[in-house]
Symmetry: C2
Protein backbone atom coordinates (compact mmCIF):
# COMPACT_ATOMS: atom_id res chain seq x y z
CA UNK A 1 0.00 0.00 0.00
CA UNK A 2 1.42 3.37 -1.01
CA UNK A 3 1.83 6.29 1.39
CA UNK A 4 0.95 4.18 4.38
CA UNK A 5 2.26 6.01 7.43
CA UNK A 6 4.27 4.59 10.30
CA UNK A 7 1.59 5.39 12.84
CA UNK A 8 -0.89 3.25 10.84
CA UNK A 9 1.38 0.21 10.92
CA UNK A 10 2.92 0.70 14.36
CA UNK A 11 6.32 -0.31 15.70
CA UNK A 12 5.48 -4.01 15.90
CA UNK A 13 3.81 -3.99 12.47
CA UNK A 14 6.98 -2.59 10.94
CA UNK A 15 9.12 -5.17 12.74
CA UNK A 16 6.87 -7.98 11.42
CA UNK A 17 7.27 -6.68 7.86
CA UNK A 18 11.05 -6.60 8.21
CA UNK A 19 10.98 -10.10 9.73
CA UNK A 20 9.32 -11.42 6.56
CA UNK A 21 12.23 -10.12 4.46
CA UNK A 22 14.86 -11.87 6.54
CA UNK A 23 16.19 -15.38 6.16
CA UNK A 24 17.91 -17.43 8.85
CA UNK A 25 21.49 -18.56 9.23
CA UNK A 26 22.96 -21.82 10.49
CA UNK A 27 24.64 -20.03 13.38
CA UNK A 28 21.44 -18.25 14.40
CA UNK A 29 19.36 -20.02 17.07
CA UNK A 30 16.86 -17.16 17.42
CA UNK A 31 16.65 -13.98 15.30
CA UNK A 32 14.40 -10.92 15.36
CA UNK A 33 11.53 -10.77 17.86
CA UNK A 34 12.76 -11.58 21.36
CA UNK A 35 14.78 -9.50 23.85
CA UNK A 36 18.01 -10.74 22.30
CA UNK A 37 19.10 -12.78 19.33
CA UNK A 38 20.77 -16.09 20.21
CA UNK A 39 23.77 -17.42 18.30
CA UNK A 40 25.83 -20.55 18.68
CA UNK A 41 29.18 -19.74 20.28
CA UNK A 42 30.85 -22.92 21.51
CA UNK A 43 29.61 -26.17 23.05
CA UNK A 44 28.69 -24.69 26.42
CA UNK A 45 27.60 -21.11 25.76
CA UNK A 46 25.44 -19.15 23.38
CA UNK A 47 25.96 -15.52 22.41
CA UNK A 48 23.12 -13.08 23.23
CA UNK A 49 22.93 -9.72 21.44
CA UNK A 50 20.52 -6.80 21.68
CA UNK A 51 20.52 -3.26 20.34
CA UNK A 52 18.65 -0.18 21.63
CA UNK A 53 18.17 3.42 20.51
CA UNK A 54 17.69 6.33 22.92
CA UNK A 55 16.64 9.53 21.17
CA UNK A 56 16.40 12.98 22.75
CA UNK A 57 12.80 14.21 22.76
CA UNK A 58 11.48 10.65 22.39
CA UNK A 59 13.16 8.62 25.16
CA UNK A 60 14.64 11.37 27.31
CA UNK A 61 14.71 15.08 27.93
CA UNK A 62 18.03 16.61 28.99
CA UNK A 63 16.22 18.98 31.37
CA UNK A 64 15.21 16.08 33.57
CA UNK A 65 18.24 13.82 33.63
CA UNK A 66 21.93 14.58 34.14
CA UNK A 67 24.34 13.39 31.46
CA UNK A 68 25.93 10.98 33.95
CA UNK A 69 22.52 9.47 34.77
CA UNK A 70 21.73 9.28 31.06
CA UNK A 71 24.94 7.33 30.56
CA UNK A 72 23.98 4.96 33.37
CA UNK A 73 20.45 4.52 32.04
CA UNK A 74 21.65 3.91 28.46
CA UNK A 75 23.78 1.00 29.67
CA UNK A 76 21.20 -0.38 32.13
CA UNK A 77 18.21 -0.55 29.77
CA UNK A 78 20.30 -2.40 27.19
CA UNK A 79 21.77 -4.80 29.78
CA UNK A 80 18.19 -5.40 30.91
CA UNK A 81 17.62 -7.25 27.61
CA UNK A 82 20.36 -9.71 28.57
CA UNK A 83 18.81 -10.09 32.04
CA UNK A 84 15.46 -10.77 30.34
CA UNK A 85 16.86 -13.97 28.83
CA UNK A 86 18.80 -14.96 31.95
CA UNK A 87 22.21 -14.20 30.47
CA UNK A 88 25.26 -12.43 31.78
CA UNK A 89 26.36 -9.26 30.00
CA UNK A 90 29.93 -9.16 28.66
CA UNK A 91 30.54 -6.30 26.19
CA UNK A 92 28.76 -3.08 25.27
CA UNK A 93 29.12 -0.94 22.14
CA UNK A 94 28.11 2.71 22.23
CA UNK A 95 27.17 5.05 19.39
CA UNK A 96 26.66 8.76 20.11
CA UNK A 97 25.45 11.33 17.58
CA UNK A 98 26.06 14.58 19.36
CA UNK A 99 24.78 18.13 18.82
CA UNK A 100 27.62 20.67 18.80
CA UNK A 101 26.28 22.59 21.81
CA UNK A 102 27.02 19.86 24.35
CA UNK A 103 30.31 20.67 26.11
CA UNK A 104 33.00 17.99 26.19
CA UNK A 105 32.91 17.69 29.98
CA UNK A 106 29.20 16.81 29.74
CA UNK A 107 30.03 14.09 27.22
CA UNK A 108 32.71 12.79 29.55
CA UNK A 109 30.10 12.70 32.35
CA UNK A 110 27.89 10.68 30.04
CA UNK A 111 30.59 8.16 29.21
CA UNK A 112 31.70 8.02 32.87
CA UNK A 113 28.15 7.04 33.86
CA UNK A 114 27.94 4.55 30.99
CA UNK A 115 31.24 2.89 31.90
CA UNK A 116 30.48 2.79 35.64
CA UNK A 117 27.09 1.17 35.07
CA UNK A 118 28.56 -1.29 32.56
CA UNK A 119 31.31 -2.28 34.97
CA UNK A 120 28.80 -2.68 37.82
CA UNK A 121 27.37 -5.63 35.87
CA UNK A 122 30.87 -7.08 35.21
CA UNK A 123 30.73 -6.02 31.56
CA UNK A 124 33.06 -3.74 29.57
CA UNK A 125 32.65 -0.97 27.01
CA UNK A 126 34.36 -2.62 24.03
CA UNK A 127 33.81 -0.24 21.11
CA UNK A 128 31.69 2.47 19.60
CA UNK A 129 31.20 5.29 17.15
CA UNK A 130 30.82 9.04 17.60
CA UNK A 131 29.66 11.67 15.17
CA UNK A 132 27.99 15.04 14.94
CA UNK A 133 24.19 15.39 14.98
CA UNK A 134 22.46 18.35 13.39
CA UNK A 135 19.34 17.45 15.38
CA UNK A 136 18.85 15.84 18.78
CA UNK A 137 21.30 13.79 20.86
CA UNK A 138 21.01 10.18 19.70
CA UNK A 139 22.43 7.19 21.50
CA UNK A 140 22.67 3.63 20.23
CA UNK A 141 23.78 0.79 22.47
CA UNK A 142 24.48 -2.83 21.61
CA UNK A 143 25.14 -5.42 24.30
CA UNK A 144 26.59 -8.89 23.99
CA UNK A 145 26.18 -11.46 26.70
CA UNK A 146 26.22 -15.18 27.08
CA UNK A 147 23.99 -17.90 28.46
CA UNK A 148 24.40 -21.64 28.96
CA UNK A 149 23.49 -23.38 25.67
CA UNK A 150 19.78 -24.09 25.32
CA UNK A 151 18.95 -22.35 28.61
CA UNK A 152 17.98 -18.82 27.47
CA UNK A 153 14.50 -17.95 28.74
CA UNK A 154 12.48 -16.93 25.68
CA UNK A 155 9.03 -15.44 25.17
CA UNK A 156 7.47 -18.53 23.67
CA UNK A 157 7.57 -21.02 26.55
CA UNK A 158 4.56 -20.06 28.72
CA UNK A 159 2.18 -22.98 29.38
CA UNK A 160 -1.41 -23.15 30.59
CA UNK A 161 -1.44 -23.24 34.38
CA UNK A 162 1.88 -21.42 34.79
CA UNK A 163 1.98 -18.68 37.40
CA UNK A 164 2.92 -15.15 36.25
CA UNK A 165 5.48 -13.22 38.29
CA UNK A 166 6.96 -9.76 38.15
CA UNK A 167 10.03 -8.45 39.98
CA UNK A 168 10.18 -5.24 42.03
CA UNK A 169 7.35 -2.72 41.73
CA UNK A 170 5.44 -1.35 38.76
CA UNK A 171 4.55 2.16 37.65
CA UNK A 172 7.19 4.15 39.54
CA UNK A 173 9.05 5.25 36.43
CA UNK A 174 5.89 6.18 34.54
CA UNK A 175 4.60 8.14 37.54
CA UNK A 176 7.85 10.12 37.72
CA UNK A 177 7.58 10.89 34.00
CA UNK A 178 3.96 11.97 34.35
CA UNK A 179 4.92 14.34 37.18
CA UNK A 180 7.82 15.77 35.15
CA UNK A 181 5.54 16.31 32.15
CA UNK A 182 3.11 18.15 34.46
CA UNK A 183 5.90 20.43 35.71
CA UNK A 184 6.13 18.78 39.15
CA UNK A 185 9.31 17.52 40.76
CA UNK A 186 9.03 13.78 41.59
CA UNK A 187 10.48 12.69 44.91
CA UNK A 188 13.96 11.19 45.00
CA UNK A 189 12.84 7.56 44.89
CA UNK A 190 10.51 7.94 41.93
CA UNK A 191 13.01 10.03 39.98
CA UNK A 192 15.73 7.44 40.54
CA UNK A 193 13.39 4.70 39.30
CA UNK A 194 12.93 6.71 36.11
CA UNK A 195 16.47 7.98 35.55
CA UNK A 196 18.62 5.13 36.85
CA UNK A 197 16.74 1.83 36.49
CA UNK A 198 18.37 -1.43 37.54
CA UNK A 199 18.82 -4.39 35.20
CA UNK A 200 17.78 -7.56 37.06
CA UNK A 201 20.79 -9.59 35.97
CA UNK A 202 21.31 -11.58 39.21
CA UNK A 203 17.65 -12.66 39.30
CA UNK A 204 17.75 -13.69 35.63
CA UNK A 205 20.90 -15.73 36.20
CA UNK A 206 19.35 -17.54 39.16
CA UNK A 207 16.24 -18.38 37.10
CA UNK A 208 18.42 -19.87 34.34
CA UNK A 209 20.75 -21.77 36.64
CA UNK A 210 17.87 -23.38 38.54
CA UNK A 211 15.70 -23.65 35.39
CA UNK A 212 12.77 -22.05 37.19
CA UNK A 213 11.05 -20.02 34.45
CA UNK A 214 9.16 -21.06 31.31
CA UNK A 215 9.13 -17.63 29.62
CA UNK A 216 10.44 -14.16 30.41
CA UNK A 217 11.00 -10.62 29.16
CA UNK A 218 11.74 -7.24 30.67
CA UNK A 219 8.95 -4.70 31.11
CA UNK A 220 9.75 -1.73 28.90
CA UNK A 221 6.31 -0.82 27.51
CA UNK A 222 4.08 -1.74 30.49
CA UNK A 223 3.01 -5.24 31.56
CA UNK A 224 -0.18 -5.26 29.45
CA UNK A 225 1.77 -4.78 26.26
CA UNK A 226 4.76 -6.90 27.30
CA UNK A 227 2.73 -9.79 28.69
CA UNK A 228 0.88 -9.61 25.37
CA UNK A 229 4.16 -10.50 23.62
CA UNK A 230 4.54 -13.62 25.79
CA UNK A 231 0.91 -14.65 25.16
CA UNK A 232 1.24 -14.16 21.41
CA UNK A 233 4.57 -16.01 21.17
CA UNK A 234 3.35 -18.85 23.42
CA UNK A 235 -0.18 -19.14 21.97
CA UNK A 236 -1.91 -18.82 25.37
CA UNK A 237 -3.98 -16.33 27.37
CA UNK A 238 -3.69 -14.87 30.88
CA UNK A 239 -5.57 -13.54 33.86
CA UNK A 240 -4.06 -10.88 36.08
CA UNK A 241 -5.38 -9.92 39.51
CA UNK A 242 -5.33 -6.17 39.93
CA UNK A 243 -5.01 -6.37 43.73
CA UNK A 244 -1.77 -8.31 43.40
CA UNK A 245 0.19 -5.72 41.37
CA UNK A 246 3.35 -4.86 43.33
CA UNK A 247 3.33 -1.12 44.09
CA UNK A 248 5.82 0.99 46.03
CA UNK A 249 4.77 3.06 49.05
CA UNK A 250 5.45 6.17 46.97
CA UNK A 251 3.21 4.93 44.17
CA UNK A 252 0.45 3.97 46.65
CA UNK A 253 0.56 7.44 48.20
CA UNK A 254 0.00 9.06 44.79
CA UNK A 255 -2.71 6.51 44.00
CA UNK A 256 -4.66 7.60 47.09
CA UNK A 257 -4.84 11.09 45.59
CA UNK A 258 -5.78 9.90 42.09
CA UNK A 259 -7.11 6.39 41.49
CA UNK A 260 -6.62 6.62 37.73
CA UNK A 261 -2.84 6.41 38.23
CA UNK A 262 -3.25 2.66 38.59
CA UNK A 263 -3.13 2.42 34.79
CA UNK A 264 0.51 3.57 34.93
CA UNK A 265 1.33 0.30 36.70
CA UNK A 266 -0.33 -1.63 33.88
CA UNK A 267 0.67 0.33 30.83
CA UNK A 268 3.14 3.03 31.85
CA UNK A 269 6.41 1.60 30.63
CA UNK A 270 10.13 1.80 31.50
CA UNK A 271 9.84 -0.41 34.58
CA UNK A 272 12.72 -2.67 33.44
CA UNK A 273 11.46 -5.33 35.85
CA UNK A 274 11.40 -8.98 34.82
CA UNK A 275 8.02 -10.44 33.85
CA UNK A 276 8.06 -14.23 33.77
CA UNK A 277 6.03 -17.38 33.91
CA UNK A 278 6.81 -20.52 35.89
CA UNK A 279 5.17 -23.85 36.68
CA UNK A 280 6.16 -23.21 40.31
CA UNK A 281 3.70 -21.55 42.67
CA UNK A 282 6.28 -20.57 45.30
CA UNK A 283 8.98 -19.09 43.11
CA UNK A 284 9.91 -16.26 45.47
CA UNK A 285 11.28 -18.74 48.01
CA UNK A 286 13.42 -20.43 45.36
CA UNK A 287 15.13 -17.44 43.81
CA UNK A 288 16.78 -16.07 46.97
CA UNK A 289 16.78 -12.78 45.11
CA UNK A 290 17.50 -9.38 46.62
CA UNK A 291 14.53 -8.12 44.64
CA UNK A 292 10.99 -9.28 45.43
CA UNK A 293 9.07 -11.48 43.02
CA UNK A 294 5.29 -11.12 43.14
CA UNK A 295 2.82 -13.56 41.70
CA UNK A 296 0.27 -11.49 39.76
CA UNK A 297 -1.75 -14.00 37.75
CA UNK A 298 -2.04 -17.24 35.80
CA UNK A 299 -1.60 -18.42 32.23
CA UNK A 300 -4.82 -19.87 30.82
CA UNK A 301 -5.91 -21.44 27.56
CA UNK A 302 -8.55 -18.83 26.69
CA UNK A 303 -6.87 -16.31 24.36
CA UNK A 304 -6.46 -12.71 25.44
CA UNK A 305 -5.40 -10.92 28.60
CA UNK A 306 -7.94 -10.25 31.34
CA UNK A 307 -7.30 -7.95 34.29
CA UNK A 308 -9.63 -8.77 37.23
CA UNK A 309 -10.84 -6.64 40.10
CA UNK A 310 -10.96 -8.19 43.56
CA UNK A 311 -14.71 -8.97 43.11
CA UNK A 312 -13.95 -10.95 39.93
CA UNK A 313 -15.28 -8.30 37.55
CA UNK A 314 -13.14 -7.16 34.60
CA UNK A 315 -10.98 -4.05 34.91
CA UNK A 316 -10.65 -1.87 31.83
CA UNK A 317 -7.33 -0.07 31.41
CA UNK A 318 -7.63 3.35 29.77
CA UNK A 319 -4.18 3.19 28.20
CA UNK A 320 -2.80 0.86 25.54
CA UNK A 321 0.78 -0.34 25.75
CA UNK A 322 3.40 2.06 24.54
CA UNK A 323 3.97 2.15 20.78
CA UNK A 324 6.85 4.29 19.55
CA UNK A 325 4.96 5.24 16.39
CA UNK A 326 1.54 5.63 18.07
CA UNK B 1 38.43 22.32 31.19
CA UNK B 2 34.92 23.75 31.35
CA UNK B 3 32.85 24.61 28.29
CA UNK B 4 35.33 23.00 25.96
CA UNK B 5 33.55 22.36 22.68
CA UNK B 6 33.52 19.20 20.63
CA UNK B 7 35.13 20.88 17.64
CA UNK B 8 38.13 21.84 19.85
CA UNK B 9 38.71 18.27 20.94
CA UNK B 10 37.74 16.46 17.73
CA UNK B 11 36.30 13.02 17.19
CA UNK B 12 39.54 11.19 17.98
CA UNK B 13 40.23 13.38 21.01
CA UNK B 14 36.84 12.46 22.44
CA UNK B 15 37.44 8.76 21.76
CA UNK B 16 40.82 8.94 23.54
CA UNK B 17 39.17 10.52 26.58
CA UNK B 18 36.54 7.78 26.70
CA UNK B 19 39.29 5.15 26.27
CA UNK B 20 40.96 6.42 29.46
CA UNK B 21 37.77 5.78 31.45
CA UNK B 22 37.46 2.19 30.29
CA UNK B 23 39.01 -0.89 31.84
CA UNK B 24 39.61 -4.21 30.10
CA UNK B 25 37.99 -7.59 30.52
CA UNK B 26 39.49 -11.09 30.45
CA UNK B 27 37.42 -11.97 27.41
CA UNK B 28 38.48 -8.86 25.49
CA UNK B 29 41.51 -9.29 23.22
CA UNK B 30 41.21 -5.78 21.75
CA UNK B 31 38.83 -2.99 22.80
CA UNK B 32 38.22 0.55 21.56
CA UNK B 33 40.42 1.99 18.80
CA UNK B 34 40.58 -0.45 15.87
CA UNK B 35 38.02 -1.28 13.16
CA UNK B 36 36.48 -3.94 15.41
CA UNK B 37 36.82 -5.15 18.96
CA UNK B 38 38.14 -8.69 19.28
CA UNK B 39 36.77 -11.14 21.87
CA UNK B 40 37.65 -14.70 22.67
CA UNK B 41 34.96 -17.06 21.34
CA UNK B 42 36.22 -20.63 21.29
CA UNK B 43 39.60 -22.25 20.62
CA UNK B 44 39.59 -21.64 16.90
CA UNK B 45 37.71 -18.39 16.35
CA UNK B 46 37.50 -14.89 17.75
CA UNK B 47 34.43 -12.67 17.69
CA UNK B 48 34.75 -9.33 15.84
CA UNK B 49 32.25 -6.54 16.53
CA UNK B 50 31.87 -3.02 15.16
CA UNK B 51 29.16 -0.37 15.41
CA UNK B 52 28.42 2.55 13.06
CA UNK B 53 26.05 5.50 13.01
CA UNK B 54 24.61 7.00 9.81
CA UNK B 55 22.84 10.31 10.41
CA UNK B 56 20.75 12.21 7.90
CA UNK B 57 22.33 15.56 7.10
CA UNK B 58 25.72 14.35 8.31
CA UNK B 59 26.38 11.07 6.47
CA UNK B 60 23.68 11.14 3.82
CA UNK B 61 21.05 13.26 2.18
CA UNK B 62 17.79 11.55 1.14
CA UNK B 63 17.65 13.67 -2.03
CA UNK B 64 20.70 11.91 -3.41
CA UNK B 65 20.23 8.29 -2.43
CA UNK B 66 17.21 6.00 -2.67
CA UNK B 67 16.07 4.28 0.52
CA UNK B 68 17.01 0.89 -0.95
CA UNK B 69 20.53 2.13 -1.73
CA UNK B 70 20.74 3.65 1.74
CA UNK B 71 19.86 0.25 3.20
CA UNK B 72 22.57 -1.40 1.10
CA UNK B 73 25.14 1.23 2.03
CA UNK B 74 24.30 1.03 5.77
CA UNK B 75 25.06 -2.70 5.73
CA UNK B 76 28.14 -2.46 3.47
CA UNK B 77 30.01 0.25 5.37
CA UNK B 78 29.56 -1.68 8.63
CA UNK B 79 30.60 -5.01 7.05
CA UNK B 80 33.64 -3.14 5.69
CA UNK B 81 34.94 -2.96 9.29
CA UNK B 82 34.92 -6.76 9.45
CA UNK B 83 36.69 -6.91 6.07
CA UNK B 84 39.26 -4.46 7.46
CA UNK B 85 40.41 -7.06 9.99
CA UNK B 86 40.17 -9.98 7.57
CA UNK B 87 37.09 -11.48 9.18
CA UNK B 88 33.89 -12.95 7.81
CA UNK B 89 30.64 -11.18 8.71
CA UNK B 90 27.94 -13.26 10.42
CA UNK B 91 25.17 -11.17 12.02
CA UNK B 92 23.98 -7.58 11.71
CA UNK B 93 21.81 -5.56 14.12
CA UNK B 94 19.92 -2.54 12.84
CA UNK B 95 18.54 0.44 14.74
CA UNK B 96 16.34 2.96 12.92
CA UNK B 97 15.02 6.20 14.44
CA UNK B 98 12.51 7.32 11.87
CA UNK B 99 10.81 10.67 11.21
CA UNK B 100 7.03 10.27 10.84
CA UNK B 101 6.96 11.60 7.27
CA UNK B 102 8.71 8.59 5.75
CA UNK B 103 6.08 6.24 4.25
CA UNK B 104 6.15 2.61 5.28
CA UNK B 105 6.91 1.37 1.76
CA UNK B 106 10.05 3.52 1.78
CA UNK B 107 11.11 1.92 5.06
CA UNK B 108 10.49 -1.49 3.57
CA UNK B 109 12.69 -0.52 0.61
CA UNK B 110 15.36 0.45 3.09
CA UNK B 111 15.20 -2.85 4.96
CA UNK B 112 15.00 -4.80 1.66
CA UNK B 113 18.26 -3.18 0.57
CA UNK B 114 19.82 -3.78 3.97
CA UNK B 115 18.84 -7.47 4.01
CA UNK B 116 19.92 -8.07 0.40
CA UNK B 117 23.34 -6.51 0.98
CA UNK B 118 23.76 -8.41 4.26
CA UNK B 119 22.89 -11.71 2.61
CA UNK B 120 25.25 -10.98 -0.30
CA UNK B 121 28.10 -11.28 2.22
CA UNK B 122 26.64 -14.51 3.71
CA UNK B 123 25.51 -12.67 6.85
CA UNK B 124 22.03 -12.30 8.38
CA UNK B 125 20.01 -9.51 9.95
CA UNK B 126 19.64 -10.91 13.46
CA UNK B 127 17.96 -8.16 15.48
CA UNK B 128 17.27 -4.48 15.87
CA UNK B 129 15.29 -1.62 17.31
CA UNK B 130 12.94 0.91 15.75
CA UNK B 131 11.56 4.14 17.14
CA UNK B 132 10.32 7.54 16.17
CA UNK B 133 12.70 10.44 15.57
CA UNK B 134 11.58 14.04 15.99
CA UNK B 135 14.65 15.08 14.01
CA UNK B 136 16.54 13.42 11.17
CA UNK B 137 16.55 9.78 10.11
CA UNK B 138 19.18 8.00 12.18
CA UNK B 139 20.54 4.56 11.50
CA UNK B 140 22.76 2.50 13.77
CA UNK B 141 24.31 -0.75 12.62
CA UNK B 142 26.30 -3.30 14.58
CA UNK B 143 28.03 -6.20 12.85
CA UNK B 144 29.47 -9.36 14.35
CA UNK B 145 31.93 -11.50 12.46
CA UNK B 146 34.62 -14.01 13.19
CA UNK B 147 38.25 -14.55 12.40
CA UNK B 148 40.69 -17.37 13.05
CA UNK B 149 42.15 -16.87 16.56
CA UNK B 150 45.16 -14.58 16.63
CA UNK B 151 44.90 -13.83 12.90
CA UNK B 152 42.92 -10.55 12.84
CA UNK B 153 44.87 -7.88 10.94
CA UNK B 154 45.15 -4.91 13.27
CA UNK B 155 46.41 -1.35 12.89
CA UNK B 156 49.51 -1.76 15.01
CA UNK B 157 51.56 -4.27 13.01
CA UNK B 158 53.22 -2.15 10.30
CA UNK B 159 57.02 -2.50 10.21
CA UNK B 160 59.78 -0.40 8.64
CA UNK B 161 60.35 -1.53 5.06
CA UNK B 162 56.81 -2.87 4.58
CA UNK B 163 55.11 -1.94 1.32
CA UNK B 164 51.81 -0.01 1.51
CA UNK B 165 48.91 -1.20 -0.66
CA UNK B 166 45.40 -0.02 -1.34
CA UNK B 167 42.59 -1.90 -3.07
CA UNK B 168 40.43 -0.54 -5.91
CA UNK B 169 40.55 3.16 -6.72
CA UNK B 170 40.54 6.26 -4.53
CA UNK B 171 38.49 9.45 -4.59
CA UNK B 172 35.49 8.30 -6.64
CA UNK B 173 33.03 8.57 -3.76
CA UNK B 174 34.30 11.98 -2.63
CA UNK B 175 34.18 13.26 -6.21
CA UNK B 176 30.55 12.16 -6.54
CA UNK B 177 29.70 13.92 -3.26
CA UNK B 178 31.47 17.10 -4.36
CA UNK B 179 29.48 17.10 -7.62
CA UNK B 180 26.21 16.53 -5.74
CA UNK B 181 27.02 19.36 -3.33
CA UNK B 182 27.66 21.61 -6.36
CA UNK B 183 24.28 20.72 -7.86
CA UNK B 184 25.74 18.51 -10.62
CA UNK B 185 24.65 14.96 -11.40
CA UNK B 186 27.62 12.54 -11.13
CA UNK B 187 27.83 9.86 -13.77
CA UNK B 188 26.49 6.38 -13.00
CA UNK B 189 29.84 4.89 -12.00
CA UNK B 190 30.81 7.65 -9.58
CA UNK B 191 27.34 7.76 -8.02
CA UNK B 192 27.39 4.01 -7.45
CA UNK B 193 30.80 4.28 -5.79
CA UNK B 194 29.28 6.82 -3.38
CA UNK B 195 25.85 5.26 -2.79
CA UNK B 196 26.58 1.53 -2.92
CA UNK B 197 30.17 0.88 -1.87
CA UNK B 198 31.51 -2.67 -1.71
CA UNK B 199 33.02 -4.21 1.42
CA UNK B 200 36.24 -6.02 0.43
CA UNK B 201 35.49 -9.15 2.44
CA UNK B 202 36.94 -11.72 0.02
CA UNK B 203 40.24 -9.83 -0.23
CA UNK B 204 40.43 -9.48 3.57
CA UNK B 205 39.81 -13.21 4.02
CA UNK B 206 42.54 -14.11 1.54
CA UNK B 207 45.03 -11.83 3.34
CA UNK B 208 44.24 -13.54 6.67
CA UNK B 209 44.28 -17.08 5.33
CA UNK B 210 47.65 -16.61 3.63
CA UNK B 211 48.94 -14.31 6.43
CA UNK B 212 50.06 -11.74 3.88
CA UNK B 213 49.44 -8.40 5.67
CA UNK B 214 51.10 -6.81 8.71
CA UNK B 215 48.46 -4.11 9.31
CA UNK B 216 45.17 -3.07 7.73
CA UNK B 217 42.09 -0.83 7.97
CA UNK B 218 39.38 0.35 5.63
CA UNK B 219 39.55 3.83 4.13
CA UNK B 220 36.61 5.80 5.48
CA UNK B 221 38.16 9.24 6.10
CA UNK B 222 40.72 9.39 3.25
CA UNK B 223 44.08 7.60 3.10
CA UNK B 224 46.03 10.47 4.70
CA UNK B 225 43.93 10.31 7.85
CA UNK B 226 43.53 6.53 7.85
CA UNK B 227 47.17 5.72 7.10
CA UNK B 228 47.88 8.13 9.98
CA UNK B 229 46.06 5.72 12.31
CA UNK B 230 48.29 2.83 11.20
CA UNK B 231 51.43 4.95 11.64
CA UNK B 232 50.39 6.11 15.09
CA UNK B 233 49.41 2.62 16.28
CA UNK B 234 52.54 1.03 14.81
CA UNK B 235 54.99 3.79 15.82
CA UNK B 236 56.37 4.23 12.30
CA UNK B 237 56.29 6.73 9.40
CA UNK B 238 55.50 6.42 5.68
CA UNK B 239 56.22 7.75 2.23
CA UNK B 240 53.55 7.72 -0.46
CA UNK B 241 54.21 8.29 -4.15
CA UNK B 242 51.55 10.52 -5.63
CA UNK B 243 51.93 9.07 -9.12
CA UNK B 244 51.04 5.60 -7.83
CA UNK B 245 47.59 6.46 -6.43
CA UNK B 246 45.05 4.18 -8.15
CA UNK B 247 42.48 6.37 -9.93
CA UNK B 248 39.50 5.37 -12.05
CA UNK B 249 39.13 6.57 -15.65
CA UNK B 250 36.18 8.68 -14.50
CA UNK B 251 38.27 10.29 -11.77
CA UNK B 252 41.17 10.94 -14.18
CA UNK B 253 38.80 12.62 -16.64
CA UNK B 254 37.61 15.03 -13.95
CA UNK B 255 41.19 15.57 -12.81
CA UNK B 256 42.15 16.77 -16.29
CA UNK B 257 39.60 19.57 -15.93
CA UNK B 258 40.66 20.48 -12.37
CA UNK B 259 44.00 19.35 -10.96
CA UNK B 260 43.03 20.26 -7.39
CA UNK B 261 40.63 17.28 -7.32
CA UNK B 262 43.63 15.08 -6.63
CA UNK B 263 43.25 15.93 -2.95
CA UNK B 264 39.93 14.04 -2.96
CA UNK B 265 41.91 10.83 -3.58
CA UNK B 266 44.10 11.61 -0.56
CA UNK B 267 41.62 13.03 1.91
CA UNK B 268 38.12 12.71 0.49
CA UNK B 269 36.73 9.80 2.46
CA UNK B 270 34.14 7.03 2.04
CA UNK B 271 36.31 4.93 -0.29
CA UNK B 272 35.79 1.77 1.80
CA UNK B 273 38.85 0.27 0.14
CA UNK B 274 41.37 -1.73 2.16
CA UNK B 275 44.61 0.05 3.07
CA UNK B 276 47.28 -2.37 4.26
CA UNK B 277 50.97 -2.99 4.77
CA UNK B 278 52.90 -6.13 3.91
CA UNK B 279 56.52 -7.29 3.91
CA UNK B 280 55.84 -8.66 0.42
CA UNK B 281 56.64 -6.50 -2.62
CA UNK B 282 54.50 -8.49 -5.07
CA UNK B 283 51.31 -8.86 -3.07
CA UNK B 284 48.95 -8.39 -6.03
CA UNK B 285 50.10 -11.69 -7.54
CA UNK B 286 49.47 -13.53 -4.27
CA UNK B 287 45.96 -12.40 -3.43
CA UNK B 288 44.24 -13.61 -6.64
CA UNK B 289 41.65 -10.97 -5.82
CA UNK B 290 38.96 -9.76 -8.15
CA UNK B 291 39.84 -6.24 -7.02
CA UNK B 292 43.21 -4.69 -7.88
CA UNK B 293 45.79 -4.03 -5.19
CA UNK B 294 48.15 -1.14 -5.88
CA UNK B 295 51.43 -0.51 -4.13
CA UNK B 296 51.47 3.18 -3.22
CA UNK B 297 54.39 3.60 -0.84
CA UNK B 298 56.68 2.32 1.90
CA UNK B 299 56.76 2.29 5.69
CA UNK B 300 59.84 4.08 7.04
CA UNK B 301 61.34 4.79 10.44
CA UNK B 302 61.15 8.59 10.17
CA UNK B 303 57.90 9.68 11.87
CA UNK B 304 55.17 11.36 9.85
CA UNK B 305 53.57 10.83 6.47
CA UNK B 306 55.19 12.27 3.35
CA UNK B 307 53.49 12.42 -0.03
CA UNK B 308 56.03 12.72 -2.86
CA UNK B 309 55.69 14.11 -6.36
CA UNK B 310 57.33 12.22 -9.22
CA UNK B 311 60.42 14.52 -9.05
CA UNK B 312 60.91 13.63 -5.37
CA UNK B 313 59.62 16.97 -4.03
CA UNK B 314 56.96 17.02 -1.29
CA UNK B 315 53.29 17.36 -2.18
CA UNK B 316 51.12 19.42 0.14
CA UNK B 317 47.50 18.33 0.47
CA UNK B 318 45.05 21.18 0.98
CA UNK B 319 42.60 19.07 2.98
CA UNK B 320 43.01 17.39 6.34
CA UNK B 321 41.42 14.01 6.97
CA UNK B 322 37.73 14.02 7.76
CA UNK B 323 36.82 14.75 11.38
CA UNK B 324 33.15 14.44 12.25
CA UNK B 325 33.38 17.31 14.74
CA UNK B 326 35.72 19.51 12.64
Amino acid sequence: MHNEKLQDVGEFGLIRRIQRQVGGGDHLVLGIGDDCSIQRQDNSWELLTSTDLLIEGVHFNRQWISMEELGRKSAAVNISDIAAMGGRPKSLFLGVACPGDIPVDELESFSRGFVAETNAYDAVLAGGDTCRSLGPLMISVTVQGEVESGRAIRRDGAEVGDAIYVSGTLGDSALALQQLLAGKQPNRYLLARHNTPTARVALGRRLVQEQLASSMLDVSDGILSDLGHILEASGVGAEIELARLPLSDEFRAALQQDGSLLDLALAGGEDYELLLTSPLKNLSEKTLSSVDLTRIGTICSQPGLQVKNQDGSLYRCSRGGFDHFG
